[in-house]
Amino acid sequence: MRCQEARLALSQLDADLSAAGPDLVHHLGACETCQAWHASLVEVEDLLRSAPPPPAPPPDLGRRVMGDVEVLEKVARPLRRQRAAVAALLVAASLLLAAPLLTPISARLQPEITKSRHDLAVVNLPTRPGDLAQLLTTPPSLHVNQLPRPTHLLASTRAVVNEIVATPLPTSPVSQADLASALPLSPALTGLLGLLTLLLNIPLLLRTSRSSGEIHS
């Protein structure tokens, strides 16, 4: 074994060499340079293990941490509320988008139930993938009230959905200015108004295009 190989092997072993192979042990017994090299490795471990204890934490550490926590909570709470509101709006807008797409499917499954079934289906929003599948494959004999009901939907989301469902779909496009006056969002979130306006207008656009035969040729 060469010195380079011995040092590579030594650097990958614990200092006590309990796992050293016979070649390494033999080399170390004969090579003073590698013995010194190993001794310096052992010394590093000894110096590290006998390091003096670290200093005590600064006495005001707890006060500083709690000051940070207070600031964090002041910033995080309104942000969390805003995020929840925006999420609720996006869910509501997505539902409006999905509603006209679901109409032909539900009409095919149960032709006698038309718009009222559709609205109830929106109120009974499926919130899990399995629920959606159940909704779409519900046999015509199943009563509407037996459809899966949401159990873990946010109360705020449910309120927004109910509000939107109770409101007739607009017959003219919603403008961004209308939305801005209806939703007093903070300046940081006004950028979302354009997206929300687009989402809210999609059902109307789809309905218009379907009636003019542009989608189903």
Partner: protein
Amino acid sequence: MSQLGGQAPPPSSRPSPDPALVQRAQAGDRSAFAELVDVLSPLVHAIAWRMTRDRHAAADVSQEVFLQLWRKLDRYDSARAFRPWFSRVATNTAINAVKRRRQRETSLDAPGVSEANEPREPRPGPPERASKSERQAALLDEVAQLSPSYSAVVSLHYMQGMSVAKIAEVLGVPIGTVKIRLFRGRAVLREKLQRLDQKNS
């Protein structure tokens, strides 16, 4: 290197936090969290100190660790032991905090000046024949100059007495990774110590 007057108690004498205290803090009780900070601050500060060897940096890193603990406390499963979960959060947060500090410091340095070659608080040069305590202090400074992932492993194993398997669990990395970091870190420190001795001889 500035030292504080007091010294932290050894790891064995550090009390584990009362589970009821942890649960109160988890429920958002700030006074309980403040108590938790008091109980855990010696451990957190010890890790931060080993990785920075700087009083202000260690305090800042400790603060970051506790702030992260506050953010993540609701994810702690109270059916499991608190200390391993906390060690994981604390060590990983400390490693990331030290990395960010070094990136900031490097960006402020003049081009070509590496922090590894330029300690932040250079100690006065040791005498011709450095004593054991001086060599040890120089070596511990070098530990703090290692990459944070390496300095954390070296500190936890040699100074906090943590086993390789436990470190792997805390850091969420394979045992082999911990061994590699440990052995490479030790080899780098050996070279540093040798260079120091050559410089002084």
